[in-house]
């Protein structure tokens, strides 16, 4: 079982991702939510056990690229997968070079989540 942190400024998208993880048959225990990168860092700093982080890129206050860099700067190696409307090659390459493990393009299906995340949890 894995604890997952979902970082997305859309509460609707956080709910869709949560539901889709279970529809994909992924073994999920606790799901924690954050509305931007700053809140995401706060959840991590609270000491919760988290095995996978799913993060949007385009968010207010602290976007997903800054969030990934901040997580890695803190020495945290938890896998981070970007779930984003941003499908541009250069943006995804920047996310990967900043420390993200992979990316999933919105909109997505539960099968696509299973394919990308199945090996991580």
């Amino acid at each position: 079982m894995a604890n997952i942190l979902i970082v997305d400024d859309s509460s609707t998208m956080r709910k869709i991702i949560s539901r889709s993880l279970r529809q994909a048959g992924l073994t999920v225990d606790e799901i924690y939510e954050a509305g931007d990168g700053i809140e995401g860092l706060g959840v991590i700093a609270s000491g919760k056990s988290i095995q996978l982080i799913l993060s949007d890129i385009n968010m207010p206050n602290m976007d997903g690229l800054e969030f990934v860099k901040a997580v890695r700067a803190n020495g945290n190696s938890t896998p981070i997968v970007m779930i984003t409307t941003e499908g541009g090659e250069e943006i995804i390459a920047e996310a990967i070079s900043s420390g993200a493990s992979d990316s999933i393009k919105k909109p997505f299906t539960p099968d696509q989540l299973q394919e990308k995340l199945g090996g991580l949890i």
Binding site: S10, S11, T12, M13, T84, T85, G87, G88, I91
Partner: protein, 168 residues
Amino acid sequence: MSLNSDIARTTSLTEEQVAGYVIDATKEVFSTMVMMDVVGDFPLTEPVSRFKCCITGMVGFAGTYSGVISIHCPIALALKVTSNMLGVDCDEVNDDLNDAIGEIANMLGGSVKQVLSKGGLDVKLSIPTVISGEDYTVNSLSDNDCVVVPFTVEGHTLLVGLTLTKED
């Protein structure tokens, strides 16, 4: 009302192709995230600026291209859309409704951005803006440089509009 000629020239896309991308993106978002099938029609020949009992979600583009993509949806349909996305009934205009329509605009913006910018760094997307009301107008300084596609969904009509200009 038609696609800005600079957009057509620099992207090598015709208005029909741009409308096709808008239709494909809208169908994909609704089939995968909303669990509804939408049927696209031919683009409108005149802009629509006045809306009654509707909700409008908008995402802006800035950079090499600037503009906005918008979805205009009757409240009655938006309640069904939100209920489907959340998996629980939504029966009033509230934060959930605003967030759901804003997120649809966000995904549509991401799809169009991918057509305009293969790399993705030269065009930035804004955070979604949502407005709703019994009677309101949405105006753009370049209403004539847009493509507006009507869609039929469960007996309702929603509009997806794309306004773009090429920056020098």
